[in-house]
Symmetry: C2
Subunit: 318 residues, 2 copies
């Protein structure tokens, strides 16, 4: 049981956070427009866990990635970007598949991402992953690596070793049918993972894809029924609803100006993890998550130039 | 046996050429540069069979495509482009996979394409394909659809029905290990297709990937040994070497100015097929292939604004 008024006790380790999973190219159209307009695209560094790893480093804690990219120019681009952000890239595996990509053609209607799964799901469990893992305090992953093998096997092993070595386990239940292998029951698999992790941060869309419609309180309840220990449901402009199964707290958003929502969820995770690592009580770590998310919302792009957690605290009076 | 001095007899049909296979997006970087420079890309209509279908229509014969794209914005873009070129798009199947894409980051060294196989290999054999096929004189395909199932099964059925209905079968043996399923012996499979078709147009690179190194004459001999009926080996600036197994002819290039070699092979096929349909003796159809290729080489892009075959004949004194 996580006490919302207390800090989460963490083991003393050489690294704070390791993120396991998708490192990929976001290929985003330059213009709004339908299928026949605007043929220009720009490649961006992408993949939520990698964004979180870069964010937390900026906030002032130590991080590491375990990911797989192709032996191709897009893979090299991603590795170079990680290096430019000062990250250690020894955890990036180069595999015999094309570097994964998401193509997003901006649209006045709902832009539907097109998923190209390749190298990311080729992540294998090896000595390097194990060593990086057991030297970390927190491990984080999303639905991407568990949607395909061999990366699913890797995450299953990561969960076992993380429990054995008392790491805190964060899971982003960002289930989407399009990333799952056709014909496989992704919803059931995601539900089976929920009791094995410590912290879940679903969005309303994630919850609806997993459970169907419901109020935020109903959805949080459904995660708890499945065995979730701490559910942080982010609600956009309505803040967040958090429950440890005994106590449920509503948090207001801290956003003042919304320029671009891309990466706001990753920014939340980043501020939250940084707060947890720095030993803040859970409630305060959650406030820090909301503050970093609010900061990110003022700028365009998934990864923005975050200041340290101390500067965020001052700016948001925390 | 194809007599090089005679026209190829064709059945009288409502359509001239049907191309079966890859319709995809070429995502090409705007700038030359390595992995860290130039993040801008432009999407282009791509896929060699579709390019050939559009080309021959411009040259003045009738064509049809049988291809599969995703139910996504890139698939809609490709369908729109075909329509803009005046093509009938009823042969384009929409399937539950992402529209196939090739990413090409231009480079001063050899640019290595990154293949994203998706919808293109989902092409199924259905009544529409069968009807379009038996109403055509010539069918054309490349190694893309035969490298994966179910499109491989589709092409196998296409070959059977085409033989039954006396279509001329053209095959581009553009084998590349990266388009093949990992662990599968693509070379053997391609070799097994060779005796089942009528006309092959390998490049030197294709031949080397299938057989290892050799002179053009040696490579042509290897295709013939496998049961090829007519081998047209294109040699870039050295023209082409053509053999029916009994007679071997060398053709000079007609290129005068080389702006961009992209699509030169498709342009050759297009001029050649147009000549065959118009009843020219094989030698003259080959000259027309070289002329259309030479015309295309003067312009940038895979598909250029070709004039009619009659204009090409005049310009190249044929």
């Amino acid at each position: 049981m996580f006490n919302l008024s207390q800090a989460i006790p963490l083991e003393d380790r050489a690294n704070d956070l390791i993120t396991v999973g998708e490192l990929l190219v976001d290929m985003i159209s330059n213009d709004y427009g339908g299928a026949s307009e605007g043929g220009g695209y720009t490649r961006y560094f992408g993949g939520s866990p990698s964004n979180i790893s870069i964010n937390v480093k900026k906030l002032g804690i130590r991080s590491q990635v375990a990911s797989a990219v192709g032996r191709d120019s897009l893979g090299t681009f991603l590795v170079n970007e990680l290096q430019s952000a000062g990250m250690n890239t020894s955890g990036v595996q180069r595999v015999d598949e094309s570097t994964s990509m998401v193509v997003i053609t901006k649209s006045k209607e709902t832009p539907v991402p097109i998923f190209y799964r390749g190298a990311d799901s080729g992540l294998v469990y090896n000595d390097f992953v194990e060593q990086a893992l057991i030297q970390s305090k927190i491990v984080h992953f999303s639905c991407w690596p568990i949607s395909r093998v061999p990366s699913r096997d890797t995450v299953e092993r990561v969960i076992e070793v993380a429990r054995e070595h008392k790491l805190l386990i964060g899971f982003d239940p960002n289930y989407h049918p399009l990333i799952w292998q056709k014909g496989e029951d992704g919803v059931s698999y995601v539900k089976s993972i929920i009791p094995k992790v410590d912290i879940l941060k679903p969005s309303e869309d994630d919850a609806e894809r997993l459970f169907g419609p419901g109020t935020p309180a109903e959805q949080v309840g459904r995660f708890l029924e499945l065995g979730a220990k701490l559910v942080i449901m982010t609600l956009g402009k309505d803040g967040a609803l958090v429950s440890n199964g005994r106590e449920t707290l509503a948090f207001d958003t801290k956003a003042t100006r919304i320029e671009d929502t891309t990466g706001a969820g990753d920014a939340f995770w980043s501020g939250f993890y940084a707060g947890v690592v720095k030993g803040y009580p859970l409630k305060e770590a959650l406030e820090l998550g909301l503050a970093v998310s609010a900061y990110k919302l003022k700028f365009t792009g998934a990864v923005v130039n975050l200041p340290t957690l101390e500067v965020i605290k001052q700016q948001y009076n925390l």
